[in-house]
């Protein structure tokens, strides 16, 4: 009966999978309530209160943005690219659940990641702190990787100077900033708009506001170390625009990474290595 109700909404195949996942979930929510919520359109990830991200399990709570498979894919690739030989200072802008820095903490050798995540939403910062603790990366110390979320707006022209504890220069800058444009926002499925935080989705009239802000931070003297890596996720069709923004504002050339569905998903740049002088 549950399966039939789910099928009517999701189609047979997806319903069968999701029904299994609900039955296997360790959540105390009764199965009939889970099914009812799903049929009403709530995203599965919020119902199960958890989403796997790489080998990690990330705790979830509305309205914090649900980690996407595209983000999982490029974060794993970024970890393979970094191969740190010393401690890297990592900054994640718009951290949400904290999934990006936490996966880097998990995949890279102990003691090589000191990450800080910025988010304007208090819901996100609280959840990211819980996730840091659950994943075992909330303890300060040099022998382990650590992640610390901080509430702040990186659109603020004064960022990060007036905030304690965000200390440039950084070696790695990551971001999955809000990138949905005004016209696209109106077209989104209610599963997204009715449950996920618009602050995590809406990127200004053309969806590019946050890339301008990130590029000006990158251009700021002393914000990134020489040879630092910048990796930002972009929306479908935005890759070249974002490359241009980094080129014009920060004089950085970048490459594009494809996601598993062959969409240009990540713009990756490196600041020039220290010149020998």
């Amino acid at each position: 009966m549950f399966l039939a109700r789910l099928s009517a909404r999701l189609g047979k195949r997806q319903a069968a999978l999701e029904y299994q996942w609900m039955k296997r979930a360790s959540s105390p929510v009764p199965l009939d309530q889970m099914v009812a919520r799903r049929v009403a359109g709530e995203p599965l990830q919020y119902i199960l209160e958890e989403q796997p991200f790489g080998p990690l399990s990330i705790k979830l709570r509305p309205p914090v943005l649900i980690p996407r498979p595209e983000t999982e894919h490029w974060t794993i690739r970024l970890a393979e690219l970094l191969r740190p030989t010393r401690t890297l200072s990592v900054l994640d802008l718009g951290t949400g659940t904290g999934c990006i820095p936490l996966l880097l903490c998990h995949l890279l050798p102990a003691g090589t990641v000191r990450a800080c995540g910025i988010d304007v939403s208090l819901d996100a910062v609280n959840l990211a702190a819980e996730n840091a603790a659950l994943c075992g990366f909330s303890f300060p110390g040099t022998s382990r990787n650590t992640f610390r979320p901080i509430q702040a707006s990186f659109l603020d022209p004064l960022f990060p100077h007036k905030i304690l504890d965000v200390n440039p220069p950084f070696d790695v800058l990551t971001s999955n900033p809000p990138y949905i444009s005004w016209s696209e926002y109106l077209e989104l499925s209610p599963e997204v708009t009715q449950y996920e935080d618009p602050k995590a989705l809406f990127g200004g009239p053309d969806g590019l506001d946050f890339y301008h802000a990130i590029a000006s931070l990158v251009a700021r003297k002393g914000f990134l170390n020489p040879g630092a890596v910048v990796a930002v996720e972009v929306g479908d069709g935005q890759a070249e625009d974002v490359q241009d923004i980094f080129h014009c504002t920060a004089h950085l050339n970048s490459e594009l990474w494809l996601d598993p569905w062959n969409k240009k998903r990540t713009v990756v740049a490196r600041t020039p290595a220290r010149s020998r002088s």
Binding site: F2, L3, Q20, P52, R68, Y179
Partner: protein
């Protein structure tokens, strides 16, 4: 210092040790028997000697019957492997699915008795009870050796619980058992190179990224040289599905490799042996007669409940292993 030739010679010597041991045992037992038989003439020691004589004769027979032939059987390459079992319901609709659930329980019981760690990797449960298919891994040394003979079509004959008229139905469940390859084994066996693998995600996602929050984690791998494909969608993340898919792919490739090796050995003996086909019906579970029959070795057990509880199944597993060893010996003896 030992040269490579020395190492090779030492290895050969080491491998022949069991032959020497068996021979020494044979010689000393025969000598003891010869001594004992002279004492049979002695009126005082006669009864004691007769006892020894019987015992020694038995030992000699034992050596000839089991010890010598066992030396002929090449050491197993698969003894340490765990197993991956796939069950799929065949003809019989929901009744086949119900029986599949009962078979799964039977194997989980067997795992418990055999101290293997069983883990259901994937299953599609049905609202009506039972499941359409299931994938289970059995971790522990010897799991693959014991379970490999379960591959094939299992047939159940009974009146389904759902049947009103009391008519007997025949349904089938297909089982495939693969060697479970750990990541370290996969590299050791050189089963595939990453360049030969095509990784695909299965369904379109539109714009993807922040635009879509639907769970979309299905992954398909294709091993281009062999054409083997593995699709995995039971886990909620792509990463997990990919790991699972690689594990299944490695298992399939290792099974194919083992089968090729076996064929090559047989071909070299110019001996045509019918290899078991996966579509062959291997066993029948007849509820009305409380009977389970294995068609390959012609063994029937009149205790179906015990088989389904896992204990009786052990008898089949042991008999099939014995049968395999015997046929291996026959193969060896046919060699010139």
């Amino acid at each position: 210092m030992s040269s490579p030739e020395d190492v090779l010679r030492l290895k050969q010597l080491k491998e022949t040790e069991p032959i020497q041991e068996a021979w020494d045992q044979w010689v000393s037992t025969r000598e003891a028997l010869r001594e004992t038989s002279t004492l049979l003439e002695d009126p005082e020691l006669r009864s004691m000697a007769a006892e020894d004589y019987t015992m020694l004769t038995e030992s000699l027979t034992e050596i000839v019957k089991t010890k010598f032939p066992a030396i002929l059987v090449p050491p197993s390459r698969t003894a340490h492997l765990s197993a991956l079992m796939e069950l799929k319901s065949g003809v019989g609709g929901s009744e086949a699915s119900l029986f599949l659930g009962e078979m799964l329980r039977m194997y989980l019981r067997l795992a418990q008795v055999s101290r293997w760690k069983a883990n259901i990797v994937a299953s599609s449960d049905l609202d009506t009870g039972g499941m359409r298919d299931a994938v289970v891994e059995f971790k522990g040394a010897g799991a693959y050796e014991a379970l490999q003979w379960e591959s094939g079509v299992h047939r159940v004959q009974r009146v389904p619980a759902t049947e009103q008229s009391g008519r007997v139905h025949t349904s089938t469940v297909a089982v495939v058992v693969l060697p479970l390859v750990e990541e370290s084994d996969a590299q050791k066996e050189e089963l595939y190179s990453m360049d030969d693998i095509k990784i695909e995600v299965m369904r379109a996602r539109g714009a993807g990224g922040q635009h879509v929050n639907k769970t979309e984690s299905a992954v398909r791998l294709t091993h281009i040289p062999s054409g083997v494909t593995v699709a995995m969608q039971d886990e909620r993340s792509q990463h997990q599905n990919k790991r699972r898919a690689f594990q299944v792919l490695a298992s399939r490739l290792l099974e194919a490799k083992l089968a090729r090796e076996m064929e090559a050995r047989r071909a070299s003996r110019r001996n045509l042996v019918k290899s078991a086909d996966r579509s062959d019906k291997i066993r029948t579970y007849n509820y009305a007669q409380e009977r389970v029959t294995d068609h390959r070795i012609g063994l029937s057990l009149m205790n179906l409940s015990s088989v389904m509880e896992g204990d009786g199944l052990q008898d089949f597993v042991a008999a099939l292993q014995r049968d395999h060893e015997e046929s291996q010996m026959e193969d060896m003896l046919l060699e010139e």
